[in-house]
């Protein structure tokens, strides 16, 4: 496949009397956009929508973040950006797509905690735009267009989930139309149809998503992947947003849709394709399989896909906490046993000073080379902020009640699980555990 990505840099976002894009400035007609998204919400699960703009450097804390999306539009070629969501599930990844750079759409809502599950409820995700926790999230560096949603009582988790995601996707699509005919500031072309020098090493990427039920799901071409068998994707399909996140359970461990369409390993390997190596494909997979049998089965099939692709080496990463580490480590083990060199990157443990116990949840002796994405056990104090966006309160620790507390005050969190993308599982962050 061959995909041209055109990037249009958003220098500023403001509310105004029209929704338009001129000279790097995005203007949004606030009321019109709010009314449009509300009107389109099929079953009226959303009772109100309020747009907000948060910019880098502002002393703002964003809370209740569910998913974050990029603005993109398919300019030429089959499918849509984020195919299968309010559009047909046809294979994307070829032609031309335009993307807004520097802008993220954030769905924020205090989802009702009506469900009974101790896993499947939205935990409060935090992005601090400045201060000691800002570096945990790549979205402290983007202009964020917040969709603050309120939801009616009494709907099912599935309905809330659909309504929230659809609102975000509609907003991305509507703004995407503004850049359809704009000449991009920057173009990258990814051509996987050309012959590649056969002497270059072949590299694949195994990316394991989280999918444990509504509120922790990941979608491939519009459908959640509970029963997925490891599947080969072209890097360009991934760049066109064929993977969309509906994962709201543990903020630090999730990979938002925005990042799924820009997976750092995919982008990096695609940029060097044909020059330093042959990027033979993405193997998309899910972790948290239910038993050792299931984990072993999936690990073997995923590794076998890498073998069929002729990979000499693979990068392995996973979304979600401890359970999923086992699936990934088994995949690594099978790869290595077949002579495919495998490098994982992962968050680590170790207690506040790094000295406590074993640093990983699971391990295999073949994992001799491991990249650290940083420790999740570092107590972090977040200061009082001038303003809170996306909501005004935090609900922490549902298991002891989770009563709402003011979100703007200073507080110390003993682990970093509430920080959005804090466990660095997409590899996008420069955070690392460094030994002393």
């Amino acid at each position: 496949m061959k995909l041209k990505r055109g990037y249009i840099t958003v220098q500023d976002v403001r509310f105004g009397n029209e929704t338009a894009f001129h000279g790097g400035v995005l203007t949004v007609h606030k009321q019109e956009m709010e009314e449009y998204l509300l009107r389109e919400d099929e079953n009226g699960n959303i009772t109100s929508i309020e747009l907000d703009i948060v910019k880098p450097g502002e002393n703002v804390r964003i809370v209740h973040i569910l998913d974050t999306l990029q603005v993109g539009v398919k300019v030429e070629g089959p499918g849509t950006f984020m195919p299968g969501h309010l559009s047909d599930p046809v294979i994307a990844g070829s032609g031309t797509t335009h993307y807004m750079k520097n802008l993220a759409i954030m769905e924020c809502a205090e989802l009702p905690w009506a469900g009974k599950s101790a896993l499947l409820y939205a935990r409060d995700a935090i992005v601090d735009m400045v201060g000691p926790a800002a570096g945990y999230s790549p979205f402290s560096e983007t202009i964020n267009l917040i969709l603050k949603l309120t939801l009616k009582d009494g709907s099912s988790d599935l309905e809330y989930d659909n309504s929230v995601r659809s609102a975000g996707i509609r907003c991305s699509r509507a703004l995407g139309e503004l850049i359809r005919d704009i000449v991009p500031d920057e173009v990258e072309e990814f051509d996987f149809t050309r012959e590649v020098d056969p002497s270059l090493p072949k590299i694949a990427y195994v990316t394991q998503c989280q999918n444990q039920g509504t509120y922790s799901n990941t979608f491939l071409y519009g459908r959640e992947v509970s029963n997925i068998v490891p599947t080969i994707l072209s890097p360009t399909e991934v760049m066109d947003g064929c993977i969309v996140s509906g994962n709201y359970v543990w903020p630090c461990f999730k990979i938002p849709s925005f990042i799924q369409a820009n997976l750092p390993v995919v982008m990096e390997l695609a940029r060097g394709h044909g020059k330093t190596h042959n990027f033979v494909g993405v193997i998309f997979d899910r972790g948290h399989n239910d038993s050792h049998f299931q984990k072993l089965r999936v690990a073997n099939i995923a590794a076998n896909q890498a073998r069929i692709l002729g990979a000499d080496g693979v990068i392995i990463s996973w979304e979600g906490g401890g359970n999923a580490a086992t699936d990934a480590m088994l995949t690594l083990q099978v790869c290595e046993s077949w002579g495919i060199k495998a490098i994982p990157f992962t968050f680590e443990f170790g207690g506040p000073d790094g000295t406590e116990g074993v640093l990983l949840v699971d391990d295999v002796p073949e994992a001799q080379y491991v990249v650290s994405g940083g420790s999740i056990e570092k107590p972090t104090t977040i200061p009082k902020v001038d303003r809170v966006a996306g909501g005004s309160e935090l609900r922490l620790r549902k298991e002891i009640g989770g009563d709402p507390e003011p979100a703007d005050i200073e507080r110390t969190l003993d682990v970093i699980t509430a920080f959005y993308c804090g466990a660095n599982q997409s590899g996008i962050g420069r955070l690392a555990g460094v030994g002393y």
């Binding site: 997976l263 990096e268 390997l269 401890g322 000073d353 000295t355 030994g435």
Partner: protein, 348 residues
């Protein structure tokens, strides 16, 4: 800034008192360099000086650890050095321990300290947290290499009071790990590492190699009919309202709940709080994770002696190994105190 002031600790051998036969040599000092300190002084140049050298017989310090280390502490404090050097001890056992004790003394005094040892010297594991240990050769033949390598590190430590990351500076990792922002993101670093391997190199791992302990299973019970059996669950089943405020992940405590007089855990009275699995189905029937119904049946049939009338619960998720070991040991001790012969662990 004046010269960096260094106190140096050595043993009786390097002080020129004698070998093994002088292991009982008393604690003494001189205000100036001695033994390997003269070598260090040459390399250190004008920036630093060894203001005091302390020595003691290896047997004496190891036999009267408390007394001698207290004296060493006094001798160090008296001259308020910027940094303390001990050894290097190479692979010498008792000298290694003595140099490690000096790191510990300095840690208490808040004075940075450096020593040198062969990485497999047993004192490394015991004392590496208290100061910095430079890796040296196995024998004193390595002194010629160790001195010029350690001297600049000693200067840095004297000035900055701490050293940069182990992998950059070169000392033996102490076990501490910080979160830091590095130049490249994790994805780029993983790809770099993969390329190195594909080119036949052996790159340094960022997460040090780990070793999980293997726990030998206990011998089977000889007599189940007289045994007291306990239920321990990592599945996070607690009485409704979570009375002990257990955490749904990163456990730091456990709960004990009475099951006296109950034949099952009634739905509605108990709640699964585990943050890693969909607990809807265990809330519907709590016996799915605390199998009280089945065990009561076995108790009635006389197949087991009796069931302990308390079950233990926590959430086995995100809890690091050190915390898990601590909680596990506490639970095991309680079970032992109650003459429990075996425990059934249910997980999720």
């Amino acid at each position: 800034m004046g010269k960096i002031r260094i106190v140096h600790y050595i043993n009786q051998f390097f002080a020129g008192i004698g070998g093994e036969e002088k292991g009982d040599a008393p604690l003494e000092y001189v205000d100036g360099p001695k033994g390997p300190g003269t070598g260090f002084t040459q390399v250190l140049g004008a920036e630093a000086e060894i203001i005091r050298t302390i020595w003691c017989g290896d047997n004496r310090i190891n036999q009267d650890q408390e007394g001698v280390t207290e004296e060493i502490g006094k001798l160090i404090r008296e001259v308020s050095p910027d940094v303390v050097l001990s050894g290097p001890a190479f692979n010498a056992g008792r000298y290694g321990l003595a140099c490690g004790m000096v790191l510990q003394i300095c840690d208490q005094l808040g004075i940075p300290a450096l020593t040198g040892m062969y990485p497999e010297n047993p004192a490394v594991e015991i004392y590496k947290r208290y100061g910095y240990i430079w890796p040296t050769a196995e024998t004193a033949a390595g002194m010629r290499k160790a001195v010029p390598a350690m001297a600049p590190v000693l200067l840095t430590l004297g000035k900055e009071k701490k050293l940069g990351p182990a992998a950059e500076v070169g000392y033996i990792p102490r076990g501490y790990r910080n979160n830091e922002f590095v130049e490249k993101n994790a994805a780029q670093r993983a790809i770099d590492m993969l390329f190195k391997r594909l080119h036949g190199e052996s790159p340094a791992t960022e997460v040090p190699l780990r070793s999980f302990e293997r726990v030998e299973p206990a011998a089977p019970l000889a007599d189940l009919k007289s045994a007291t059996i306990a239920i321990v669950t990592g599945g996070g089943m607690v009485p409704k309202g979570n009375p002990d405020g257990l955490k749904q992940a990163f456990s730091d405590s456990f709960g004990t709940y009475s099951i006296e007089g109950l034949d099952e855990l009634p739905a509605g009275d108990y709640k699964g709080i585990h943050g890693g699995f969909d607990s809807t189905w265990v809330d519907e029937d709590p016996d799915r994770v605390v199998p009280l119904d089945a065990l009561r049946m076995l108790e009635r049939e006389g197949k087991i002696g009796k069931l302990l009338n308390t079950y233990y619960s926590l959430c086995g998720i995100g809890t690091n190994i050190a915390a898990s070991k601590k909680l596990g040991a506490e639970i095991a001790q309680e079970l032992k105190n109650q003459q429990v012969a075996a425990a059934i662990f249910t997980s999720t």
